[in-house]
Subunit: 160 residues, 2 copies
DNA sequence: AAAGTAAGTTCAGTATTTGAACTTACTCGA
DNA sequence: TCGAGTAAGTTCAAATACTGAACTTACTTT
């Protein structure tokens, strides 16, 4: 019996879960973003078990969030770098940051870290919005449904 | 040996990972948001193993993302409902949706589902932005650091 | 009275995670 | 040139976690 995989699921949330739902993976991506690139960088920063780390890096490379570049041949040694797909994933990490900051500590306390723009020095406060309106997502006005293109096709088929 | 927990980690991403990094949890939260409330609702919609589901619901209640309300006494039966903390988590799901939609399918294909506003009928395209500027997060201008309040205290101490 | 329902729990077999020790192929300093 | 050090894994055994199927409990319906 292996773990149920979501990589063929029609829902984008399930597909994302399949990639980043492995224990340690979001934290490994955080460190990759913060500059870790070699195996030892991750080991030094994270006390993650080496066996687990090796498996996670392998999968992240397979899934295209990290790329592997040899920096030495014998023995072969690699550097792991964020790909475009990996950078895009940052939005998820940042949404987790926001939620974790707001809800991850007991009342009255909060994290001792913050997000800043190194150019302006301003604090960055992430928020998820709708591109069309620029407004935050309203949970009471959010539905998931078959795409209108698929719907249209169905309607069209029904009309014929 | 038990799994390394991140619920005391100083990083908000780690705290979020601790809650939602369990396999099935994001998908269970998706269904809860879509209206599932009883044990059987989740079983019907998700073919999740009942034992796993029971454990996840228990932990989500413990962590305050779902609340448990008895709708019958003997035998005791509960309804699981989203709390404010659970609704806030929707931002993370929605960020996962966006990333999953864009990167979870092979080139040229995409998911057959979409997010819509049921009032206007418009598609909702989620994006993570900085509240201050309204602009998307630029991965090259994002640093995580000790909070300025902590820094200020240090600077002040140094000045004295 | 028998069958069905709802929400779990129990079970045994796999799979995964963990920490510690081991491996490989250099590189450096004495 | 010998021994120690480094880097990136791999291997191992023990502990957990996940899975699907069967079981339980206390009603409710036919």
């Amino acid at each position: 019996m292996k773990r149920t995989r979501f990589d063929r699921d029609p829902c984008p949330i399930a597909r994302a879960t399949d990639v980043m739902g492995d224990w340690w993976t979001p934290i490994i991506m955080r460190e990759a973003f913060l500059g870790a690139s070699r195996f030892g960088d991750f080991v030094d920063r994270l006390d993650v078990p080496r066996a687990t780390l090796a498996k996670r890096l392998e999968r992240l490379v397979e899934d295209g969030l990290l790329s592997q570049t040899a920096y030495q041949d014998n023995p072969p040694r690699y550097e792991y770098r964020m790909t475009e797909k990996g950078f895009a994933f940052l939005d998820v990490l940042v949404a987790m940051w926001r939620w974790g900051s707001e809800w991850g500590w007991p009342e009255g306390r909060g994290p001792a870290v913050e997000l800043v723009d190194p150019v302006t020095g301003n604090e960055i406060i992430p928020q998820v919005v709708d591109v069309r309106t620029g407004e935050p997502i309203d949970p009471t006005r959010l539905r998931m449904q078959l795409k209108s293109s698929a719907k249209r096709r169905t309607v069209k088929a029904a009309e014929e």
